[in-house]
Structure formats: C-alpha cells, structure tokens
Symmetry: C2
Subunit: 330 residues, 2 copies
C-alpha cells in the first residue's frame, strides 16, 4: 500500500483534489497561492492557511517567538503575492502538554509582532493538545476582484520575468545549520536572519497590484525553481532565466564551501519574494511602482511559449530541475 | 517553570491574549465562538478555525473519513451559532510520512462530504509533514453584521434559556469507548453515531438569526456546563437550569451503568447544539422559526442576574460545576 512518502506532496494534493467538488466561479482557482470568496460589490476576501510543524519545519536555533512570527509571515506572503493587504490573522496551535507557559507566551508575542509589522491583527484562534508544537495560521485580506494578481493572469511569451529580491541566503543558512557547511562570520547575521526573521513583500505586492499590469505572480516560498514550475503549470507557458538573482553573500558562501551559487539560488526555499511577469513595454511603470516602496525591480528572464523552465548561463542553455523543498520526500 | 498542563486551556488563552493588540471595532469580540471582519456595506465575513489532533481528539473506531468530516462539522458549528451560513472550508493537514495514501483519500472524501452536506465548498488548503495526523480547518461565511448572534447579544434576567437538542449521547459514547462502560445494543447506533457522525445546527442557527430576537447564542461543543459558564463570562449574567435536556437513551445508559444522567448531559462535550436566550414574549416566534427547519425548541431554564450557573432539580438548587472537556488538564 502506497504511503504519502512514496508519492510526495504535489502528487498527494492531486489525489486529494480528485475528491473535491469545485466551487463555481472561484475568484482564485485551485493551485493558486491562496483562496478567495466573493463578498459583494466586486470585492473578494482572500484567505491563506499554512502550517508550521516544529520538528520538521523549525531549524535549530529558531526561537518560539521567531517560529510564531514566521508563521504569520508565510501566511501573509501568499496574500502579498495576490496583491492583497492582510487584515487579520488567526492561529490554531497544537501544544504538547509539557510545553512551557513562558515559551507559549513567546509564541503569542511572535504572533503579535508578525501581525503588527504588517498592520494586521490577531482576532482569534484555537488551542489544542498535540504531540508537537504545531502552528496552523490563517491570514485574510480584502481586495477588488479585478486587482487580484493570479498565477494565471494572462502572461504571454515575451513578457519579462522578474522578482522583488535576490535568492540563496536561506539555502546557505540551511546548508550551514543542517549540513555543517562553514558560514563565514561576516555573513552570519545576514544569512541566519533570512531564516529566523523572514519578511513578506506586502508593500511590493500592493504596489504591483495597483499598476494593474502584472500578468502573473507567485510567492517563492517553495524555492525559485519550484515556483517557476508551479507558475508554468498555471500559465501553460515556460520561462527562460538569463540572470539568476543570486545574493552577493551567496556567491561568497559558495566559494568558501565549493558549492554552486546558481544551485543555491534556484533550489532553496522559505524565501518570501514575489516572482512575476509583465509586458516589456510596462517596465518603467513597474520599476517606478516598486521603487516607491523602496524595492528594486530585478529582471531575471523571459516568458516563452514552450512549457519548460530553462537556464541560459554563459551561452549554454540548461533545463532547471523541478526540485526544491517538498514535504514527505525530502 | 509552569507547564501548559499546570494551568489548563482557558488560563493559557488568557496568558496568550495579554500579548495581543485588539483590533478596533471587532464585529465579534475575543471569547466569542468565531471571529469576524467587516467587508463593507454592513456585512461581515465570519471565520472559525479549529484543529483536530488524531492521538488526543479521535476516539477508537473513528475512521479517517469520519475524522475529516467531523473537522468540517466542528468548524461550521461555530458559524451556525453566530447565525452564519458557511460558504467555504479550507483544511490544513499535518500528515505523518508513513500515512497511507488511501487513508488520506478517505480524509479528502470526509472534507468533501462534510462540506457538501452544508452546501459549502473546499476551496483550498495546505499539506505538511507532522508527527501525527493533524487536521486544522477554517470555515468562512458571510452575513449582515446586525444579524450576528453574539454571546454578548444583550440577554437580560428573565430571558428564556433554550437549546436545539438533547444532551448526553456523546458522554455515553466516551464512557463506553474510553472507560469500558456497557453500551446496550439497542443504544449502540444512536450513541456511536453521535460521536462518529455529528451534525452542525446550521439551518437552526440561520432561522434563529433571521428572527432577530435571540439575545445570546453559543455552540455547545465544550459541553453544556462549560458552555453556560463561557456564556456567563460574556454576558455577565447567570443561568438557572430547571429542566436539563437529557436524551432518553442517556437515561437508559445511566440506569444500566449506575451513572447520574444529569451529569452525563451537563459534563460532556463534542455536542454541536446551539444554546441561546430570548425574551419570553418571543417564545412563539422562536418556536415557529425552529419548527420550520424541523427542530423542536427545548426550554431548559432562565437567565438570572447573579453570575452563577445553577441547577434546580426536584426542589433543590445546586451549583453546576464549571467542568467538562478542557485540553491539557483532562
């Protein structure tokens, strides 16, 4: 009999979805970053739920405060990728009976801190007894339906592929924390901070949605490579990367540890950047919009009609591997 | 250092809440059954999140299908208690790596079945790796703010205290499953069904909200006694029970096992009835509203000004104990 670990998370979700009736006129389709509900007057509530499990998802050195704050960030990031301002957050927490009350108070402080950082409020939640610290969150926001940035938002071959930030810092952090690779002291705070204190791109998502010209958008939390494959499934199109957005610290870390910096940037995860596309004639509008919220537009490639994810590097074209973090099979 | 098991769930929630900034103008206050968000035009989205943990919350004999379906029911029940029709359901599931794919498909069927039963759709969700099967759900519905039935909805001394159903079946089931008490064969299907296949009172909640005259309402899933104490905390009032709503099967089970049927009805849990109050002059309106959806109005007592929960039984007045199911200390 097949186990969940035999088929992996994406196949599992497909098996689950076969049993579900699809709601008519869903504002956001299955397989998008979040879900949505019409609330009248052309507006939608956008909802995301995401769970953090201590023993599998929390790296060594992360505090209860940071884990709780990160649960807020990872839930909010998916709303940001749809161009939606988060308004409320609700945690549902599974707690071992011997968990310290003081640690639970740190978790509460993490919910508060993560929420207030994005002008969001914790409005309720739920506590339960569990075998492990389990934090399941729900973030909800409101927007006009016609402002939603869908994965399948109408991107076309020739569109520019861009991101809101550079990649690979979290890969370096996990390589250090989980596999013992050397972390040069001058990189320490930046690399560890990327894991312990991530940020969601809320202002960036809102300003991009306001332009009305983004043709697809996805949150990059499963890693840049996987996010491009996920986007490809929704758009039916492909991507050619000609400038992998590698963080400078990643290049140094890679050199010190004899690793490939491109791989560190492509095949990571837990990075909450937005990956999006738009028509090249709109590049100034997009760039200006992002710069108004202090963000650089980082162009990394182009949309192509062939449904593949390719990497053009020093004149050679390679296939990007559809790998990164996936539950059950890692 | 204090552990969560030293202080219990309600005290823990108080400790957590001390760290949270309260959102201005919350349509539903903290400590109500669900949370809410203004969506414009006097309307609110009402949201509930509730978690089911296999090892602590799933009794022997319950199937994955039933556990998943129950997660839908328990999330929807809190919306029903606010008079809100559930529209969407989103599960976030933690799954052990060696979990069978076929069992996970049964869980998917349970989400689908529970949702469709209440004209609700599963619109998204999340899967994660965990130490145990953990099902965290989110149910969302929409209503007019002025139709919300709050716990603190303005009940007054002299109001009638009523429920939508009889109590104690689940207590009998747990006494049988967990403590080995005899379950007479003629009660078996009714008692076990109450645990394995519970129902939410959605039609009842909607028709009660439509009357506009319910002065407070709570879902009874923590047990009748605890629900009355929780209601008392929100209203600042007390309750005197003069007719404990004991299911006839419970009387027989109690007799066979030499147990007190009143205790079985008061101190149970996992029963999804609505407990509510209204002015006695509206008894016909309320009774007619419920009968239109096939439900009997069950009057069990009265609201009193003194903040206590009392039981009047055969001429004697006793204090109802503030006990029932509470995580961590049971």
């Amino acid at each position: 009999l097949a186990k969940v670990s035999d088929i992996g998370e994406r196949m599992l979700i497909q098996r689950v979805m076969r049993h579900l009736t699809q709601m008519p006129n869903m504002p956001l389709p299955f397989w998008d970053d979040a879900s949505a509900l019409h609330v009248g007057d052309g507006r939608v509530a956008v909802i995301n739920t995401d769970m953090l499990v201590w023993s599998t998802d929390v790296p060594v050195g992360m505090t209860p405060f940071q884990a709780a704050r990160k649960t807020v960030v990872m839930n909010i990031s998916d709303l940001a990728a749809k161009g939606v301002k988060p308004l409320i957050f609700m945690p549902s927490v599974g707690i071992p009976a011997d968990y310290l009350v003081s640690d639970m108070e740190d978790i509460a402080r993490g919910f508060e801190s993560g929420s207030r950082e994005y002008d969001t409020y914790v409005v309720g939640g739920d506590t339960n007894e569990a075998c492990d610290m389990i934090i399941s969150g729900v973030a909800i926001g409101l927007t006009e339906e016609n402002k939603l940035m869908l994965r399948s938002g109408g991107s076309k071959p020739g569109d520019i592929l861009a991101t809101t930030g550079l990649f690979g810092l979290t890969s370096c952090g996990f390589k250090h924390l989980l596999e013992g690779h050397e972390l040069p002291s001058e990189l320490k705070s930046e690399v560890l901070n990327s894991i312990y204190m991530p940020s969601a791109r809320v202002a960036e998502g809102l300003t991009l949605a306001d332009t009305g010209i983004v043709t697809s958008c996805i949150d990059s939390s499963d890693g840049l490579a996987v996010s491009l494959y996920d986007l490809s499934r929704s758009t039916g199109l492909g991507y050619i990367l000609n400038d992998v957005p590698i963080h400078p610290a990643v290049k140094l870390f890679a050199k010190v540890n004899n690793l490939n910096p491109v791989d560190l940037a492509l095949y990571g995860g837990e990075e909450y950047e937005l990956v999006f596309t738009f028509n090249p004639e709109n590049v100034t509008v997009v760039s200006d919009a992002l710069s108004r919220v202090g963000c650089n537009l980082i162009i990394i490639g182009e949309v192509v009609s062939e449904k593949r994810v390719l990497l053009q590097h020093e004149g050679i074209i390679d296939e990007v591997k559809p790998k990164g973090w996936e539950h059950f099979i890692n």
